[in-house]
Symmetry: C2
Subunit: 355 residues, 2 copies
């Protein structure tokens, strides 16, 4: 163990012993980033109030049994700005996001709810465009929108349209045991496309890049993977807010292991890489809406990659790293220049309202 690793270990054990404390008196944009501030808010306020064994797992979906049926249940609100962007809009985002939260829990998504908060004056034509997009996304994912709600707030009290979706699914392949040293870490495709696309669609930056959101339903891709590699998939997570870096940190912290990632192996399209360089952000922290991080047993690494690549949404899947037992709770990046650096949780929010 190097001195640096010792420092990391000490930092983590200090952090573990400490109760999460929210230092701010008011909510900031960073509390919605998916990064450090969000984690502190969840720990110090939401888990403090609601804590129960199902919630405490803090997975993408809650899992529980009802009369012998193993169910997954999840929710997400969508406040993306702008509402329409290349490759998608708030409507398909709201369907795919919830479908994916169920899919990474090893569940078949079945039924979705849709709650709309509309601003007085919102164009009905835009609402129709959004609902049509939700219809198509639901059809593509094989789910039904079975219950809903609409609220309207006065002009200036919202930003056009916010959508909440919740989803119920039936678990077909629950996670197969704990993450272990030697496990392979895969991503299902190039990262960062959704976040960069939304950022550029705001038109506030003088950057032209030919990017398109990756929003897509991952349920078939991940169900095929579970079927072809039975018992080998340890964990799956979709890399939304906070990007792949955040998901890897959460996996490392939960498992008490290290994740070592090879920078060269991470698929990033040139347009995304270029835009990220101009924006001064690391694509590892940029939200995807149709990409998952998958941890599989070492011996299943090749077959998992093959399985993912047979599917159009996984055609550019890659093994990006592996699990080590030390230093626990840490994500290390082997850079293209031969160095190693710690990939920490996001501080602040460079890309607010990306989903």
């Amino acid at each position: 163990m190097t001195i640096r690793e010792e420092q990391v270990l000490e930092r983590i054990s200090r952090a573990r012993g400490r109760k999460a404390r929210l230092r701010e008196d008011t909510i900031t944009l960073a509390h919605g980033s998916g990064g450090k501030a969000t984690h502190t808010l969840v720990e110090a306020v939401f888990r403090e109030a609601f804590g129960n064994p199902v919630l405490d797992r803090l997975d993408d979906s809650a899992r529980f049994s009802v009369n012998g049926a193993d169910l997954a249940f999840t929710t997400d609100s969508y406040v993306v700005s702008p509402l329409f962007f290349p490759g998608g809009d708030i409507g398909d985002l709201a369907v795919n996001g919830t479908v994916n939260d169920l899919a990474v829990a090893g569940a078949t998504p079945l039924h979705l709810s849709a709650g709309f908060i509309l601003e007085e004056g919102f164009p009905v034509a835009d609402l129709r465009r959004i609902t049509e997009s939700m219809r198509c996304a639901a059809e593509a994912a094989g789910v039904d929108i079975v219950t809903g709600d609409t609220k309207v707030v006065e002009r200036g009290k919202a930003d056009g349209c916010y959508i909440n979706t919740a989803g119920v699914g039936v678990v077909h392949s629950p996670p197969a045991g704990e993450i272990r040293p030697g496990d392979a870490v895969l991503v299902t495709g190039p990262i960062g496309e959704h976040g960069v696309t939304v950022m550029l669609a705001r038109g506030e930056l003088d950057i032209e890049a030919d990017t398109v959101s990756d929003t897509a339903p991952l349920n078939c891709l991940l169900a095929d993977l579970a079927c072809r590699c039975p018992g080998a998939v340890r964990r799956m997570r979709d890399a939304t807010r906070g990007g792949v870096a955040t998901v890897l940190n959460e996996l490392a912290a939960d498992a008490g292991m290290a994740v070592v990632v090879d920078e060269d192996a991470i698929p990033v399209r040139p347009a995304v890489r270029g835009a990220c360089e101009l924006l001064g952000i690391d694509p590892m922290y940029v939200a995807c809406e149709g990409r998952a991080v998958v941890v599989v047993a070492p011996e299943a690494s090749d077959s998992a990659l093959d399985s993912l690549r047979t599917h159009p949404l996984g055609a550019e899947a890659a093994v990006i790293g592996h699990v080590k037992d030390d230093p626990p709770g840490t994500v290390l990046l082997k850079t293209a220049f031969g160095g190693t650096r710690i990939v920490d949780l996001l501080v602040g929010d460079p890309l607010p309202r990306i989903c």
Copy 2:
């Protein structure tokens, strides 16, 4: 049949033959009222896009089976203003509202999701007060909040805090058949307290009234009723947006029957009646958040009333009317002065953002 009733019948049959058409180009507050404009929006936009057999029932909860388990699933967003009011706040409202949507479907509420949309600058102390209130409400109703989400939008892009809850329950007593002529119509307690309380809590009106929100979980009350009057409960609805008048209209329209209500029999507390008179609104249209309308078989009317009254939340339950076969789809009110008038769906929204 009187000439007036003939006119009603003609109006209804005209309305039935016509496809719902949304005349407005932009969303208005009335689209969130629960009344006529909401119905048109749901028909012309949401059902048009998402229509499926489960959604098309347009009940308070969707019902479906998963691996043999009969489930109910529902969602509601809460945008009440102000966030805190006598008797409750947005937190317990968000829990009780979803618990009640499940309870009136004859389901035992089990698990809730909570999605928060917070405005930058929202006081953390207020958020803690709200989550504490949700915790207490969840405990009282016997449900767990098992999954959640937090989004933050910039200052001025929301109104402090919006909450969406969705809920999953297991159906214990599905509705027992169709509404029939002679069936009794009950309410579980005095009406209009929630809406009037929130309206007055805004402090914009120079009216003092000692009212308190009726927000409460109805699951035990209604499960007891189903247990004590097996097979006799035809339909249950909670009388939220649009009040008892809207629920009765929906029941009448769905059943193709008339509901005749006796104005004198409707329980309204004096403070609520007084405030409604000053506000120029009919308490029949004012939202409750802890009252249900229940339709039972004629022979079960007394036992249903007895069952409700044994429970603190049903102590002031009353039989308010009965079902007739004619004129179909109509709610008729026998006034205290001996006349009869039609109680139609709400037009516009006299009480926006009540829940």
